[in-house]
Amino acid sequence: MGEFFAMGGYAFFVWMAYGMAALLIVLEIVAVCAHRKRALHLVRHSDVHGSGTVNAGAQLKEAE
């Protein structure tokens, strides 16, 4: 197994490349999950909670 990791003497370059790529991908996955958790938290606790309909905002009424 040893010589597999040695990569013919280029271990540093090969594993630094693969290692950083793996690290960046893992970081992105972690970031996306954290983002999702924040969003869910926002939705659950926001006061704009959908009471059946999107809060309608102001209406324009005819006033004399």
């Binding site: 490349a17 991908i25 969003a39 809060n55």
Partner: protein, 245 residues
């Protein structure tokens, strides 16, 4: 809501969840196969010995970085043309993954360059263009963060992506011109004849990266939908929102 049935975020949200799962799992499987081939089975390259194995990460990442930019510009164009919110959100969720792929391509390219050309940064035409592509991605992400109103941010980023996608080939061509003018044609890095095993490894890795990008983009898309439709009724009815974790 104009557009086809799935244009409405409410219907697309659950579908995107399933697709993300499928693409994620298949990406993992493809990556494992690709890595086994690339790192273990593929023979040593006659000139570069083992350092060439970095291409199994570098090439897919480089292709994805360009492909994702074009896809982002495509969804941006649809968002501008048909004024549909979903395609704008799709364009927004692609940008970070595209930037990540560019960063991976640059990092692995530098580590591949050191044993091959003796230096991490040799102003190689492709690498320089990749660096400029990273600036384009970061520009779009910076513009996105600078604008508070989501709808204006969507449209502005779509316009910038379209202007960018027109310029990407021009930049690549001009950097190539500049590179050959100064260094002459650099030795074609990488072996000339790619035999079948290497090609297989490469293809597996390309699909792995592609499916990974789709999965991550869809997950980020669902999150953006939640943020954008905070008050919407369909959000309130979602299972993950209801149960109080």
């Amino acid at each position: 809501m104009s557009g086809f049935k799935y244009a409405a975020p409410a219907q697309f949200y659950p579908l995107a969840g399933k697709m993300a799962l499928w693409f994620g799992v298949s990406a993992a499987v493809l990556a494992v196969i690709g890595l086994v081939i690339g790192l273990y089975i593929a023979p040593i390259d006659v000139t570069q010995k083992d350092s060439y194995r970095i291409i199994f990460i570098h090439v897919p990442a480089a292709w994805m970085s360009m492909f994702l930019y074009v896809v982002m510009a495509f969804w941006g164009a649809i968002a501008l043309g048909m004024n549909t919110r979903l395609s704008a959100m799709m364009a927004q969720s692609i940008a970070p993954t595209g930037a990540l792929m560019t960063a991976i391509a640059l990092w692995t390219g530098a580590l591949w360059g050191k044993p091959t050309w003796g230096t991490y940064w040799a102003w190689d035409a492709r690498m320089t263009s990749e660096l400029i592509l990273l600036f384009l991605y970061l520009g779009i992400i910076a513009l996105r963060n600078a604008i508070d109103d989501p709808r204006r941010a969507d449209k502005a980023c779509s316009v910038l992506a379209l202007v960018g996608v027109v310029n990407v080939p021009i930049i690549y061509m001009s950097v190539n011109w500049w590179n050959t003018l100064h260094q002459g044609a650099t030795i074609k890095a990488g072996n000339s004849s790619i035999d079948d095993i290497m090609l297989a490894g490469l293809l597996f890795m390309v699909f792995a990266f592609w499916f990974y990008s789709v999965a991550v983009t869809l997950v980020r898309l669902r999150t953006i939908m939640l943020e954008r439709e905070v008050g919407a009724a369909w959000v309130a009815r979602l299972p993950e929102v209801k149960e109080e974790r």
